[in-house]
Structure formats: structure tokens, C-alpha cells
């Protein structure tokens, strides 16, 4: 049973161009999508490839122009499912400032549960648990304005966690953060996935954030063009590059070495892997080919 299931999902935006002419932008052009419950899915794609549009569909913020999308067995196009879907699927956005509503951290985390009518005592429990889960308990009574970007983003995540969702969709949550903030947020996301078994859909531009995913989708021009485990996806460096994407540095190095004639296996993601691979090569008596 798939938690998210999409069949030929298409989304058109009506837009006007520079000459005031009406035109249609096809942001999603026929996507078939299957995500298992509890999976960590990463979505890659260059700017304008339709990632955010897809993310908004998973939360019923947008409805498909045609095709059908089911989240937790509910059709997102049906109005009566809207709030149930949003209750079960939380969303974290890119800009940490623009998604915080309250003036105190704990009230911010309580906002979602308050909206869905959770009784007061239960809210308290959930807020404490959520703040614990993202490691921000110490900032409970602080004003969100004084926190760092990474901390704000963790509060935003806590606000979703407190709603007890089955799935969290994160749209480039680390794009505006420094390396420390990124690490904090990524760790939080991973631990949610592993400890609380929340299905995670992470949209990102950072290749190193993809390595922990169970599944990677690569989007281009509104379509999913590559799909598989990180290893599978990163084995095809050329194809990835043709979609305007980078690969992790190690993968790049391994790829270049292979191009130079080293018989190295494809899809190397970690430094240790490449190390082993090279050591094995050396032991087997392989020497640098002179020709190139």
C-alpha cells in the first residue's frame, strides 16, 4: 500500500507574459508517483522544474489540473478531504521567517494542534514532545525573532511534528541556512524518519542531503526523469548533468577517474567507498594507464 500515489498528474498555471498575453505554464507534466509509508524520499531538480508545485499538491494546497493524486488513500481533488490530508501531511517551507505565526516558541508549536481542536492538556504534551524531538526545549519561552535560521526551521518542523502527521514535506528547508543550520535541520529530519517513522519528502538542491534517502526522484521540466536509490541515481553522472544537476564531490571524482580508464564501479557516494575501491585496485596490481 502506497502512502502517496499519483497517476498522470498534470498542473497548469494560467499566467500572463510580458506582452500581457495569456499563456499556460505547465509546471507538472504528467507525473506518476509512488511513495511507501515510512520512506525518506528526496526530490532533486533545477530551478523551475516543478518541485515546489508538486510539493504543494501533496498538501492539497494545489489540485491537479488533470490526473489523480491520492495521499493516504484520499483523493486530493475532493474538497472534503482537504483538511484531513493537511492534518496527516505537514509542510515546511524555505523561508523560516515567513512561516512562523506566533510570538513565543511554544505557542508557535501549539498553533497546529490548536487549529485541529486538540484538548489543552494534550497540546501541552505534544508541544513538549515536539520540542524535545527537534532539540529546542531550552528555547521554549523565547521569541522566534531572536533565533538563528536553523533554530527557526527546527521550530517550524516542531510545529508540524506536534500535529502528529504521517508525512512531512520539506521544500528546500535548508536553502537559507549556513552549514551548521543545515546540519541541525538535516539531523532532525533524519531522526524523525528513523525514530518516529514519519514519511519524509525532502526537496533540496544539496546533493549531500540526498545520500540518506531511500528513494531519489529527479525532476526536469515538470516530469520525473530519474528515480531510484541514491546509488542508482548517482551511477548515471552524465544523465544527471544533462538535467543541470551536480553530483557529490566523491561521486564526481570517481566518475572522472573512471573516465580516465580506472575500472571503478559506478554510484560511489562516500569517501570510504572510493578509498576501498582504489585500495582494492592497487592490490590487484592495477597501475595508472599511461595513454591518457
Amino acid at each position: 500500500m502506497h502512502f502517496i500515489k499519483g497517476r498522470n498528474v498534470i498542473h497548469d498555471f494560467a499566467d500572463t507574459d510580458e506582452n500581457e498575453q495569456e499563456r499556460v505554464v505547465r509546471a507538472i507534466a504528467g507525473i506518476d508517483l509512488d511513495v511507501k509509508e515510512g520512506d525518506f524520499v528526496a526530490i532533486l531538480g533545477h530551478n523551475g522544474s516543478g518541485k515546489s508545485t508538486l510539493a504543494r499538491h501533496l498538501n492539497a494546497l494545489l489540485k491537479p489540473t488533470s490526473g489523480t493524486l491520492w495521499v493516504d488513500g484520499m483523493n486530493t481533488a475532493e474538497e472534503e478531504n482537504k483538511w484531513k490530508i493537511r492534518k496527516g501531511t505537514g509542510m515546511v517551507f524555505q523561508n523560516p521567517d515567513n512561516q512562523i505565526i506566533a510570538n513565543v516558541v511554544e505557542e508557535e508549536v501549539a498553533f497546529g494542534p490548536e487549529n485541529i481542536g486538540v484538548p489543552t492538556e494534550e497540546i501541552w504534551k505534544r508541544v513538549e514532545h515536539a520540542l524535545e524531538a527537534v532539540g529546542m526545549m531550552a528555547y521554549r519561552y523565547h521569541s522566534p525573532n531572536r533565533l538563528s535560521g536553523g533554530q527557526k526551521q527546527r521550530i517550524a518542523i516542531a510545529g508540524i511534528v506536534a500535529m502528529r502527521p504521517k508525512c512531512i514535506v520539506l521544500d528546500e528547508p535548508t536553502a537559507m541556512l549556513d552549514p551548521t543550520g543545515r546540519r541541525e535541520v538535516l539531523q532532525t529530519i533524519r531522526s524523525l524518519n528513523q525514530q518516529e517513522h514519519v514519511t519524509v519528502i525532502l526537496i533540496t538542491h544539496h546533493m549531500d542531503e540526498v545520500l540518506y534517502a531511500d528513494q531519489v526522484f529527479v525532476m526536469d521540466d515538470g516530469k520525473i526523469v530519474m528515480q531510484g536509490t541514491p546509488k542508482e541515481v548517482f551511477s548515471d553522472v552524465e544523465q544527471l548533468k544533462s538535467y543541470g544537476l551536480d553530483v557529490p564531490q566523491v561521486t564526481e571524482l570517481a566518475y572522472e577517474l573512471e573516465q580516465c580508464g580506472f575500472p571503478i564501479k559506478k554510484g560511489i557516494l562516500r569517501i570510504e567507498e572510493l578509498e576501498e575501491e582504489l585500495a582494492a585496485l592497487y592490490q590487484s596490481g592495477f597501475r595508472i594507464p599511461k595513454s591518457k
Binding site: L61, D97, I100, A102
Partner: protein
């Protein structure tokens, strides 16, 4: 912008801080009513004593309040001066075409006291109540207005969101200002018109960014199932404690005292003698 006290919270723990926000809102109204009911020195003496007592209890330093007064200094001066010179009555001094009357001095003093106390009273409320509490209090206190189809919850929600975004937009204004200055914009020199014009490249990007933020925030609120005030629960529901009820009793006593003094003085016609 930095010396606006109204709307600023002074974090400390005091009896006043702990009161229910509705009690404080109502208290502020009672205080304002009493200010405008009173028309003689004895009444103001009573009000002053009460205000001083509340100030002491609130642990808010007097300096904070003075800062708030700076904002109304000009208004205060204007109204006092106008009253001294323009109120007709028994003439005391005559300078050129202006005359100072006993009536005028009395009115000016009362007006000054009213204005100053008004600012102190309202600042005391905001200094001792967090914005969130204030919005919650307003929402609950004004709930009857829902029957008149006034969207009380929406209004208070907007209030608290505005409060959250004020510092963010201020910071943004600074950033845009610096960016425009780096491009050679000049905000400081020139006549009024020129300076007003210089503000356009400041406000346009600020507006665009504010709207973008608003769209983002609306999305974030919707994904978190915000559907207005209906069916919402609260992490900190407001409910009256014993101390709140006692405070309401004090209000009643206070109003009766002020009203009583007023009545007695009028009844015995003491007013004209006191200031004749």
C-alpha cells in the same frame, strides 16, 4: 522609532503581570472613564494615589513610562498653551492681545494631567501584558461582538501577526535602505518633496516583499489547518482566578469613590469656592 513604549512588554514577574489580560483591559477603560469624570483637584489626588500604587505593584521602572511620554510631548505642550491663553474667564494677566485667565490655567492643568495619565495608564497595560495575551484577552472580551458579525478572532489574529512581523519588516527596511544607498540613493538631503520622492524606491520593494511574505504565511497557516477561530482550542486558555475577581471588586470600589467624590463636591457647591 525606538522610544515608543506603547506596545512594548516589560518582562518581569509582578501581581499586575499575572492578572488576566481581560482584567487589565477592563481596568484601563475604568481608569480612562475615571479620568474624564473627574473635574477637580481632590479627584485627581485620588487617581494619582491609585496610579502610583499600581505602578509600584507592577515593578515597571518609572523611566520606561517617561520614555513613552516623550512621544506626546509636543501634543502636550500645544494643548496646554492653547488652553492657558484661549479659555475665556476671569482675567489674571494681560500681555499684548493675549490674556491668561484663572479658568484657562485650571483647564490647562487638568488637560495636561489627563493626557499624561492617559498615556501612563495605557502604557502600563501594554508593559505588563504580552502581545499574545493582549490579543487573547481582546478576543475573548470582545466575543459578544461576533453576534454583530464583527470577525473578532480574525482581527485579533491580524493584530498578533502584525506584531510578529513589525521587527522583521523594520530590519528589511534597513536592509533595503542600505542597498539603495549603495546604489547612490539619498534619503537625507533636499526639500520635503525630494525626500518624499526618495522614499519611493524604499517602499516599493518593501511592499513587494511584504506581500510575498503574506502569501507564504497564508500557505503555512493553511497547511497547519488554520480555518479561523471556529473549533480552535488553546494551549493557554484564559480563565479567571480569584485574584482577577478581587480586582474587579477593587474597580467597582474605585469607580464608586471617584463618582462619589464628584457628586459630593458638586452637591455642596464646593467647586466654585475652591477655585473662586
Amino acid at each position: 522609532m525606538k522610544n515608543i513604549t506603547i506596545g512594548q512588554y516589560y518582562p518581569t514577574d509582578s501581581v499586575i503581570h499575572r492578572l488576566d489580560p481581560r482584567v487589565k483591559l477592563f481596568g484601563t477603560i475604568v481608569f480612562l472613564v475615571s479620568l474624564f469624570l473627574t473635574d477637580h483637584y481632590l479627584g485627581y489626588a485620588v487617581i494619582t494615589v491609585c496610579l502610583a500604587a499600581v505602578l509600584k505593584l507592577s515593578k515597571v521602572p518609572f523611566k520606561m513610562l517617561l520614555k513613552g511620554l516623550r512621544g506626546i510631548l509636543i501634543l502636550l505642550l500645544f494643548s496646554v498653551v492653547f488652553n492657558i491663553f484661549l479659555v475665556p474667564g476671569r482675567e489674571l494677566v494681560h500681555i499684548w492681545f493675549l490674556s491668561i485667565t484663572a479658568e484657562g490655567i485650571r483647564r490647562a492643568i487638568f488637560l495636561g494631567i489627563r493626557l499624561v495619565y492617559l498615556v501612563i495608564g495605557t502604557s502600563l497595560m501594554t508593559l505588563t501584558t504580552t502581545p499574545t495575551d493582549l490579543a487573547d484577552g481582546l478576543e475573548k472580551a470582545l466575543r459578544p461582538l461576533n453576534k454583530l458579525h464583527i470577525p473578532v478572532h480574525d482581527i485579533t489574529m491580524m493584530m498578533s501577526i502584525a506584531l510578529r512581523f513589525i521587527p522583521i519588516l523594520m530590519e528589511e527596511t534597513d536592509k533595503i535602505m542600505m542597498a539603495q544607498k549603495a546604489r547612490g540613493a539619498d534619503f537625507e538631503t533636499g526639500g520635503l518633496l525630494k525626500r518624499a520622492k526618495a522614499l519611493i524606491p524604499l517602499f516599493v520593494p518593501l511592499f513587494v516583499s511584504a506581500i510575498r511574505r503574506a502569501i507564504d504565511l497564508a500557505n503555512a497557516m493553511e497547511t497547519r489547518c488554520y480555518q479561523g477561530g471556529e473549533g480552535r482550542t488553546k494551549m493557554h486558555p484564559l480563565c479567571y482566578q480569584k485574584r482577577d475577581k478581587r480586582t474587579y471588586c477593587i474597580y467597582a470600589g474605585y469607580l464608586i469613590a471617584i463618582f462619589g467624590i464628584n457628586r459630593i463636591l458638586v452637591a455642596f457647591q464646593i467647586l466654585p469656592f475652591l477655585f473662586a
